[in-house]
Symmetry: C2
Subunit: 215 residues, 2 copies
DNA sequence: AAATTAATTAATTGCATGAATAATAAACGG
DNA sequence: CCGTTTATTATTCATGCAATTAATTAATTT
C-alpha cells in the first residue's frame, strides 16, 4: 500500500512548505472525523511524512487544531466586520444587506474543497462544549457576531434583545448546517451556480426569519 | 476520589435497572464529548460500575451509541408523523401549523437535562459523515423529513423541489443549533418559559423563511 | 570551510482504550 | 434444594495514540 522507497533521514533538499500542507491535511481530517476521531498519525500519513513533524511545527494536537481554525476563521470574521463597516459608511441599509454581508464570506468557502472542510469543521466546533473549542469560537467570532446583532437590532427596534440573539442563533445554525451539508444536494451540485443558489435561498430564508413576528 | 468500599463480585441483590442507567450516562457523555471523545470506561465510572457492563448490555461501543440515539430519536420521528397525519386529517393547514408540528416534538426535549443532551447529540450527529452515523440518521428521520418536505411543497407549489429541500435543511440546522445551544441564553434561561419562547421565535423564524421569496 | 541552525526520520515511552475471558454470587425454574 | 441463567467484578491483552528524544542531513551564517 503506497509503499515508497524508505525515506531518507535528515533535512531534504529544497523547500517543502510542509507547515501549510499539514494544515490542509489536518483541516480535511478534522472536518471528516472530528478532533478526537483524528490521529496525528493520519495527518502525517496523508503527506507521507513522519508523525513527529506535527509536533515540530505545531507543538501538540490541540495547537494544531487551533491553527487550522484560526487560519480561515479570522479571515471570515474580518471580512464580516469590513462589510458591516462598509454598509454603515454608506448610510442606510436593509435587513437583506446585513444578512448578505454576514453570510457571503462563509458562502465563498463552499467553492473549494478545503473551504468546505473548514465549514464542516466550524459547524462541528459549534456543537462541542469542550473547553478549548468554546474559547476558540469566542476568540474568533464573538466580536463580529455581536456587532451584527446590534446592527440587526437597530433595524428591528421593536424586537427584544433576547429575540435578536435567538434569531442570530437561528441564522448561524441554518447557514452552518446548510453550507456544510456534506450529504445529498451539495455533493452533486457543488458548482459555482449551486453555491450562488444556496446563498440566495439562505439569504431569503434569513431575511424572512428576521422580519417575521410572533403570535 | 469517591472511593467506596471494594465492590462485591457476583450478582447484586435486588434489581438495578442498569441498562437504562447506562443509556442515560452514555447520552450525557456522548453529547458532551462526542463519540470518539467518550470512553466506555467513563460511562461505567459515572455509575461506579465495572466497564465490562457496557459490553454485557450493549455488545460494543457503536451499538451503545445506536441504542442511545434510537431511544429518543424514534419517539420524535413518530410524533412528527402522527402530528402530520392529524393535520392532514383535519383538512386545511398553514405553513405555521406544519412548522409547529415538526418542531414541537424536539422542543419538548429542551425541558429536561437528558433531553437537552439528546439534542446536542443529534446536532452533533448531523455533522458527522462517518458511515454508521449517516445510516442512523437516515434510518430514524428520513421518512418523516421527506413527508414534511412534501407537505411544505404542497403549500408552496411555486417553489422548486430543490428550494424546498434547501429550506428544510435550513430549518433543521436552525432548530438543532438553537435548541441544543449549550452556551449563553439556554444555560441561564432553561425554564419552561424560555423553552416556549424559543419555540415560538423559532416557529416564527421558520415560517418567515419558508414564505419569503428570492430576488 | 567551519559552525550553527533548520528540517526531517527513527525509535521509544507511557498511557488509555476497547474488547474478551474467567470468576463469583444472586435469582429463578423445576 | 439443585441446576441453570442472569448480573456483576476482576483481570488480562493487544492496539493505538500523543509526545519525546536522538540521530541525520541540508541550508545558512560567519
Amino acid at each position: 500500500m503506497t509503499r515508497g522507497r524508505p525515506k531518507k533521514v535528515g533535512r531534504p533538499e529544497g523547500q517543502t512548505n510542509l507547515s501549510d500542507k499539514l494544515l490542509d491535511a489536518a483541516e480535511l481530517l478534522f472536518a471528516e472525523q472530528g478532533y478526537s476521531g483524528t490521529a496525528l498519525r493520519q495527518v502525517a500519513d496523508k503527506l507521507d511524512v513522519n508523525p513527529a513533524m506535527t509536533a515540530y511545527y505545531f507543538k501538540n494536537k490541540e495547537n494544531l487544531f487551533r491553527e487550522v481554525f484560526l487560519r480561515r476563521g479570522l479571515v471570515v470574521a474580518r471580512q464580516r466586520l469590513e462589510r458591516l463597516a462598509a454598509l454603515s459608511a454608506e448610510g442606510s441599509h436593509t435587513v437583506e444587506d446585513l444578512a448578505r454581508a454576514f453570510l457571503e464570506p462563509s458562502a465563498q468557502l463552499m467553492g473549494t474543497r478545503q473551504g468546505r472542510a473548514f465549514l464542516r469543521l466550524h459547524a462541528r466546533l459549534h456543537m462541542e462544549p469542550e473547553a478549548f473549542s468554546y474559547a476558540l469560537r469566542r476568540e474568533v467570532y464573538d466580536e463580529s457576531t455581536r456587532a451584527y446583532a446590534q446592527a440587526f437590532h437597530r433595524l428591528l427596534p421593536q424586537a427584544t434583545e433576547l429575540q435578536i440573539f435567538q434569531k442570530v442563533s437561528l441564522m448561524v445554525g441554518a447557514y452552518l448546517y446548510a453550507f456544510s451539508d456534506t450529504n445529498r444536494l451539495a455533493e452533486l451540485a457543488k458548482s459555482q451556480n449551486a453555491t450562488d443558489d444556496l446563498l440566495d435561498t439562505t439569504v431569503a430564508f434569513v431575511v424572512g426569519g428576521f422580519l417575521s413576528v410572533k403570535g
